[in-house]
Amino acid sequence: MNTFPWMLKREYWEHRGGFLLAPLWTGVTLLGFTSIGSLFTHTTPQQIQQVDRVISPLLLGIDGLFGVVIGFVLFFYLLGALYDDRRDRSVLFWKSMPISDTATVASKAATAVVLVPILATVMALCTWLIMQILLSVFVLAHGGNPLTLIWMRSAVITAPALLAAVLPMMMLWMVPTAGWLLLCSAASRSTPFLWAVLIPILLGILNGWIGLLGLPHLPAEIMWGDGVKRVLLGTFGTLDVVNAMQAAQRTGGGFGASLLAAYDQPVAWLAGIGGIAMMAASAILRRRSVDL
């Protein structure tokens, strides 16, 4: 009996507002502002001729915005995932089903790390496509030919292809934070938010103190940049990838350079392993107690 799809569905039922409606309204708002804004923009004919330059940055920008929205949604989803049902005691209902705790934790991790990023990327692509259509109307209104200026340019294909190609990397960045937040969610008897945020930050400060005393400690950029940031801000992983690619593109890099910039992050792989270990620990905690 394949129960896993039902468990994913259950997560979607509970969090439809965050997973679907929040990105949806982001897209709608963005499109609304763009259409109104385009009415008041002054454009020279030269700019119209070079309109293809915005195709790729536009998609990255849109995806970055969606990344911020789901970053917040996922942060709070993961913090509550193994805590909220213990607080309202509905855990007693979920635990009356023949489902292992490993499967429960896996379904929540998969929702955050795989399903929601895919959903957000698809919605970012749809928003971008509609924006290309708006752009075509804009070009047409300024006497340009949208077919040759936009739709026959290679960026129309390469930009979405690049986004799809780096999606696994965006997911990988989310793993350490997903693991840490699930662990806090499973372990907390109250206020998982405080535990999740304070522990890494206090550890970072402690590490700094030890450094000031001249004792062996981790360099600040590793402690904060690779440690604290990775366990707290990983749900914004989309931004890490988008930033790396934007940097590559600013220095004139094309498809290959952007792809390489996204994947050339050894820390992400290491942090991913740590994240999976924390997910395993969450499953053990989940099995041992249902009480707050």
């Binding site: 009996m1 129960t3 799809p5 039902w6 468990m7 569905k9 259950r10 039922w13 509970e14 049902d85 309202d88 005691r89 509905s90 855990v91 007693l92 209902f93 979920w94 635990k95 009356s96 089903m97 023949p98 489902i99 292992s100 705790d101 499967a103 099995r287 041992r288 107690s289 249902v290 009480d291």
Partner: protein, 285 residues
């Protein structure tokens, strides 16, 4: 008769208290067992141990499984309603049915629909929009549609009005229970379940103080309404408790042979509640 649950030396310690002090008991298949005790006696802890919801020390086998390991296999044959209204409040009625139907291999959708048809629960409503009685009806419809061998009910009717409570136990007995199934119930409302129980266990301060089937209970505990002239003799037989009704004293005896009590007055079968109160005296002292 097969043994469904075997517990020996079951022990659970919380930080400051010992909730279970090494208890032993067996539960046979096809019985309806009442686990009865005052607040804080360890009832819920015992149930949690059986259902694999807490860690414990000692030996415990539930349908051949250790609840601490392979719990998901055990849960295919075990169902429970722990407390009232633990259904997630955001869940829609139809989603609840779809979910259980999707994840539980022993769930019979037709049976569930038949139970639901008897209620007035709107399908698209969320659980939080239902009355407490309706939530229990829904939970019961979900659980009774599962062909489980062992059902655990922890205070299943707490806070419900009389009509729902009556209906709850009636449905359970008429439409669910058969010799293939076993039910374990805890409740404070002893009078309500007395007539459906086949066995009873009293628990107090983490120990089982009484474990008997209802028939032997009727032989062991006898209540005598004693005529005033025999009152002194009756007290000499060491009654468990004494109360007075309309100026005559009523004594409850534990394990005194019927023949010795017969001459003292009118013999009666005591209610479970009377036995409970008599054996628990001083529990809250």
């Amino acid at each position: 008769m097969t043994t469904l649950i075997e517990a020996s030396g079951l022990r659970k310690r919380y930080k400051s208290t010992e909730a279970l002090r090494g208890i032993d008991f067996n539960i046979q298949a096809g019985r309806i067992v009442g686990l009865i005790g005052p607040n804080g006696a360890g009832k819920t802890t015992a149930l949690k141990a059986i259902l694999g919801l807490t860690e414990f020390e000692g030996q415990l086998q539930v349908l051949g499984h250790d609840p601490r390991a392979g719990r998901e296999h055990m849960m295919r044959d075990v169902c429970f309603i722990a407390d009232v209204a633990v259904l997630p409040r955001w869940l829609r009625v139809q989603q609840a049915i779809d979910f259980v139907s999707g994840v539980h291999s022993k769930f019979d959708l037709k049976r569930c629909e038949a139970f639901m048809a008897r209620t007035q629960i709107p399908r698209q409503a969320r659980v939080r929009e239902l009355s407490k009685g309706m939530i229990v009806q829904l939970h019961l419809a979900l659980v009774m549609a599962i062909d489980a061998r062992f059902l655990v009910l922890d205070e299943p009717t707490l806070g419900l009005d009389l009509l729902y409570r009556k209906q709850f136990y009636q449905t359970l007995l008429e439409d669910y229970f058969d010799e293939q199934r076993t039910i374990l119930i805890t409740t404070h409302q002893v009078e309500e379940i007395e007539h459906i129980l086949s066995d009873v266990m009293f628990i107090r301060d983490g120990r089982i103080t009484l474990n008997a089937d209802m028939e032997s209970l009727g032989e062991r505990f006898i209540e005598v309404m004693v005529a005033p002239e025999h009152d002194q003799d009756a007290r000499g037989l060491n009654p468990l408790s004494t109360r007075s009704v309309f100026g005559r004293s009523v004594h409850l005896f534990d394990g005194v042979p019927r023949e010795r009590l017969q001459p003292l007055g009118e013999l009666r079968r005591p209610g479970l509640a009377d036995i409970f109160v008599a054996t628990m005296q001083g529990a809250h002292a």
